[in-house]
Symmetry: C2
Subunit: 249 residues, 2 copies
């Protein structure tokens, strides 16, 4: 399986995701956008708002992947501990970042910039800021770790601001062929196509609607001619099995 | 932070989640249901369909948490490798499970039970089956690891079948108080409540609608009287700040 060699991990920080209260919306967004940038999202973790857990996950992921993106835990309340944890992971002191402080001072009326909100100006020493065009309190980057907000609209704005500075490999293209076959009918032929196209990543995703099976075959590769050839073979396979492939993505 | 001492991890297996193609729906379901059963979902990971990644994650999680639930990768196609990987993680041979085979033989017409579908009868040696009332191919349990389907309807049916056999601690109760305050106004007072109630896990979740802030304070604990007392204090805090708390969950 050959994909882009530039990799990323996402670390979702927050009890609310683990309790089921909040459905994470950031992971699919980042997965899709990173793929467009030629960066393969290779792993994601969700950890609670506990320092030891966050530090361990940041450390494990930053050593392993080209880029790490964290979401959540950068607000003003007691459960927002991401900045401290990232500082600890890098063994750097947590400082009140002067540039972040200036941003908050420009946004809040003097009486409103209380101690809790001032915490949002804390970053590890040496971090550079990530702009927050929506609610102003910035994210930050330190080495390969990008610390983003958890609120999806803010996370997206932060990510789009930093995206032009990310260096990806060739973008991963994808084709999706859906048919009303049961997955098990397609499996042998699909495995054979996968063997002939090791550089194309072929996934098979079954679903059931009104009890009737359908299967989406997703092909992903950086090499367009090989992707097209593999998709052609999958389409032929589906037709051989008496169904009609629909291109659905 | 005191919560239930029985813990769980969810391991989501599948390239489609990391590529952003598929939004995971299983994690919030499991987080919520486990909490009701007195089991704290303490971590989740998403890994691609790669043997080394799946084996490493199964090993890390099963050593650390009371229960592990995997989702995905148990279908008939070449990218369904969860059973092999769990067998490898436990150092056990992968066998054609006779009981699983009988289930498939009862479901499929003889000509339809091809080699690909027969793979769905493979389990690590010594695994016990988890019933699949929807599409018949079973999941399985080995020690504390429960291997479930990725298709949400099937995953849920499997989980509900095994849920009565899980041993939880006291259920985690929660209260949610929402108000139209900006999070930063609430932060100092909320931190003080958290300090007075270390056994209640208090989270603060901001959102913005039409540019106007709102914040949901979620309190979770196993001890109902302490939970009620902490929620009372949070309500009073919100009123002191000139807003009206709404109980939203």
């Amino acid at each position: 399986m050959t994909e882009a060699h530039v990799t990323a991990a996402v670390l979702v920080i927050g009890n609310e995701i683990l309790s089921g209260r909040t459905k994470d919306a950031n992971l699919p967004y980042l997965g899709e956008r990173l793929a467009e940038l030629g960066i393969r999202l290779a792993e994601a973790r969700v950890v609670p708002d506990l320092e030891a857990e966050i530090v361990a996950a940041v450390d494990a992921l930053r050593a392993r992947y080209t880029y790490v993106f964290t979401t959540g835990g950068i607000g003003p309340t007691h459960d927002d501990i991401t900045a401290e944890c990232v500082a600890a992971a890098f063994g750097r002191p947590l400082i009140r970042n002067p540039e972040a402080l200036a941003l908050l001072q420009a946004h809040y009326a003097p009486g409103d910039l209380n101690e809790a909100r001032l915490r949002m100006a804390n970053t590890p020493e040496g971090a550079s800021l990530i702009e927050n065009p929506i609610s102003h309190a910035p994210g930050f980057r330190i080495e390969n770790v990008h610390v983003l907000a958890g609120v999806p609209a803010v996370m997206r704005a932060m990510f789009e601001g930093l995206a032009p500075g990310l260096t990806g490999g060739p973008p991963l293209r994808s084709r999706t062929l859906t048919s009303k076959l049961p997955e098990g009918a397609l499996a042998a032929g699909l495995g054979a196509v996968q063997e002939r196209y090791p550089e194309v990543d072929i996934g098979s995703y079954p679903s059931f609607r009104d009890g009737r099976p359908s299967v989406a075959v997703v092909l992903r590769a950086t090499d367009e001619p090989r992707l097209a050839a593999a998709a052609e073979e999958v389409g032929a396979l589906i037709r051989d099995l008496g169904a009609e492939p629909r291109e659905t993505g």
